[in-house]
Symmetry: C2
Subunit: 476 residues, 2 copies
């Protein structure tokens, strides 16, 4: 039994302004229209035990905020699979997440079931090489090895940790000699020449028993703190929410540092599979075809006499003249312009914005909710205008606003509307008024997405002027 | 008598995306919040005859499209002045415009009244130098000279025409030896060294009689065609609209080529007044204070480690890292990124957009109307959402839509609303529905600007689904 375990945390700040806390890197759409989360679940399903049967099983560790959208993406790709979720109240790095996943796998499928740990936001081009590597890693894992999938370096990268390989193992793979920190450029060049080093890409394969035993031995504090977390969990529920009070007490640590760097029976399976961690706009740019001048362009762009630029327009026009080696990324509420070789430093922008609590760090103009999305079209002291898109059978919470009134105009489809005690079906082109302090609810009982324009007016228009009386999803 | 004649034509395409056909360069707001049109009318009023009296007179030649906004700007600056307008049905360059202005001035104030011709979209820093130059030019004009205000060159500019001065005239100014075309760099450097050349800045002073006589002599076809135009004009009306059919037959020509280059009694008054034609984003950038790294920044911008950039944000955040010598200008629907020394080539972008009839060439997301403004917040196949801002006592036309319905929600102030035969006063927070084919009108009878959110739905949502039944302004 091999269960893919997808770790989906982190904000991907180096891909701001597209990746933001509330809508991070796994949800970004790439050149082919697919999200990284979608690409990852496909990769997971391809190697999962039971991948060819009706119902392979996957396990994803993420946060409550990202649960609904992740589940929607997975179900759109493989609705019949068993997609399970562990929801972390906060990020505590990879070690606690992997322990929780191993406990879950052990309870469901026994100690000898294997975990294939993979980050949610990487890309792999060559699926057949990946599949062979997983098979080899699985075989080693069954013999008790803590196995890494190590990526063959293609250039002297200073941004990754490396794995130094030692002796070949019978039956494939190599024993690991050491994990080494991110090197300087000179060292990275030496690593590349030597042929003995692989990139540590955060992909692991081990049995639940092996990893839990190794954590017990190498980081007993994490093992014990996770025991207390797991005691409070109802492991039969789905999704499983890890208890916040206990989980916050677990040491935040990477599995590399907590276990792999010190454990004894460690193996690595090298793979040359066209891997990318999509760690910067430069990496995104590499996914696109370039024109004869080295420009890679998405969306509505007019470029006069430029070379080697990456330009991504979303809704508005980007026009440029005479520019070289730039990354330009436009979103509804923020535009990024960066020298390409400085693209990593987008993180510094996000840090600066964070210091000022700038909204663009966390939220997009469009917010994803379990029932669909809303986009703020206008936000002034006098009024707030939102476009609501409600998925088939989506239901907003029954709510009351104490300090503002609303008008809903249905502009597409048919909306089921409750205002006070009155229930009605509202057709496109029709409006309903929601007075202050009147309970109301919007629902899509049809099979097509509907659209509603909401105009809010009143003395106070904050999102927090809302009392939820009843919530289908428990989150709004 | 000296009448300032302001010529306001041209789209200012090199200042796209802020300057557009429907809202061109004179309406751009500068660092100090003033428009170029506002700065120009102030300059005009400062030297106009009667400038210290209750009611100086100005004359502006512009198009019907720009009349209301220009008049609003002028009146906000000097409501008691007599601001007169000649409206051209199309641009025919400066010669026909100046002939029309001279005819108007002659009829109102006699042949000996002087015109001070000035473009609407230039800047002059030193008003006292300008005032002295106008005085000297006025004295020469009274003696029958066709007088230019020539700007002392500060650098070897290849983008302007030059005036070669000859002998000093008694009482100030110099006789003109020749008008010369835009030079190449080498020639421009020679001009600068010689001290005999001045920039031709499109500012002239002459009596109505002098210029009309000179046009008769040098370009009799223009004189005769303009005679036919003027015969059809009611010169007592205001604004005066030049008849389209006849005006389109007048040769399109600059006053320089039609008259000044060939005329005999020509003088130039040199001035060193801090003049700029604001001909590119580089010139706009020069108006701003730079920080220690040479960056000039407007609006919400986060810049990490950049040098010598000009960045102008309007409503959204611009974030940049590691960039040099760039111009970045963001508007609601388009963003420009240009290498600074290529800023002149923004024109090439506009040409490219024009080939594709792109909306951003002509219109902004916000459109100015006589009654106020509207801003398109959302425009999809299903609906169109607009924010209407209606000036005190502004009245929209009484209109009918045949293919879409509308909902108005008042979000600020009190709107007078007519729907069919029903007239009502709608308070903020209230809505009215306008069915297809129902006559309706919106009016602001109060002293404060009001705001209305309009949601349009229906089978067709184009601006052209509108039949005007009655229009207060004759333009919508």
């Amino acid at each position: 039994m091999l269960i893919p375990v997808i770790l989906s945390g982190g904000a991907g700040t180096r891909l701001w302004p597209v990746s933001r806390k509330a809508h991070p890197k796994p949800f970004m759409r790439l050149a082919d229209g697919e999200t990284l989360a979608g690409a990852t679940i496909k990769r997971a399903l391809a190697v999962a035990d039971g991948s060819t049967s009706a119902s392979p099983t996957t396990l994803t560790v993420t946060s409550r905020d990202h649960y609904f959208l992740t589940r929607d993406i997975y179900q759109s790709i493989r609705p019949d699979a068993n997609h399970h979720f562990l929801l972390e109240p906060e990020g505590r790095n990879t070690a606690p997440a992997i322990v929780a996943a191993a406990r879950w796998v052990a309870e469901r499928f026994g100690d000898e079931a294997k975990l294939l740990v993979m980050p949610a936001d990487h890309l792999i081009k060559d699926m057949s090489v990946f599949g062979q590597a997983v098979e080899a890693a699985g075989a080693l894992a069954e013999q008790g090895w803590l196995t890494c999938l190590g990526v063959q370096p293609t250039h002297p990268e200073t941004g990754y940790g490396y794995i130094r390989a030692a002796a070949d193992l019978p039956g494939g793979g190599l024993e690991i000699d050491a994990f080494v920190e991110k090197p300087d450029l000179e060292t990275a060049e030496r690593y590349l020449r030597s042929g003995e080093f692989l990139w540590n890409a955060g992909m692991f394969c081990f049995t639940a028993r092996s990893i839990l035993t190794a954590v017990d031995e190498q980081s007993p504090d994490i093992a014990q703190a996770m025991n207390r977390v797991w005691e409070e969990v109802d492991a039969t529920s789905d999704p499983i929410e890890l208890p916040a009070r206990l989980f916050s007490k677990v040491r935040s640590e990477s599995i590399d540092f907590a276990v792999m760097e010190k454990a004894t029976q460690r193996a690595v399976v090298p793979m040359d599979c066209g891997w990318s961690d999509i760690g910067s706009w430069q990496a995104i740019s590499d996914l696109y075809e370039s024109d004869r001048s080295g420009n890679r362009i998405q969306g509505e762009v007019v470029l006069i006499d430029g070379n080697n630029n990456f330009i991504q327009a979303e809704r508005r026009l980007i026009a440029a003249v005479g520019i070289q080696d730039l990354v330009i990324v436009d979103t509804e509420d923020a535009v990024l312009v960066a020298q390409k070789d400085r693209a990593q430093e987008v993180k510094a922008i996000v840090d600066e914005l964070q210091r000022h609590n700038h909204a663009t760090v966390t939220h997009h103009a469009t917010t994803h909710r379990p029932w669909g999305t809303y986009t703020v079209l206008e936000d002034t002291r006098h009024c707030r205008v939102r476009r609501l898109r409600i998925k088939p059978r989506g239901v907003l919470s029954l709510q009351i606003h104490h300090r503002h009134s609303e008008h809903w105009t249905v502009v597409k489809g048919q909306a089921q509307v409750q205002v006070g005690e009155d229930h009605q079906l509202l057709e496109a082109g029709h409006t309903v008024a929601i007075p202050v302090a009147c309970p109301h609810r919007l629902e899509n009982k049809t099979g097509d997405t509907i659209e509603v324009i909401e105009v809010q007016t009143g003395e106070y228009l904050g999102e927090d002027d809302m009392e939820r009386l009843e919530d289908f999803y428990g989150t709004g």
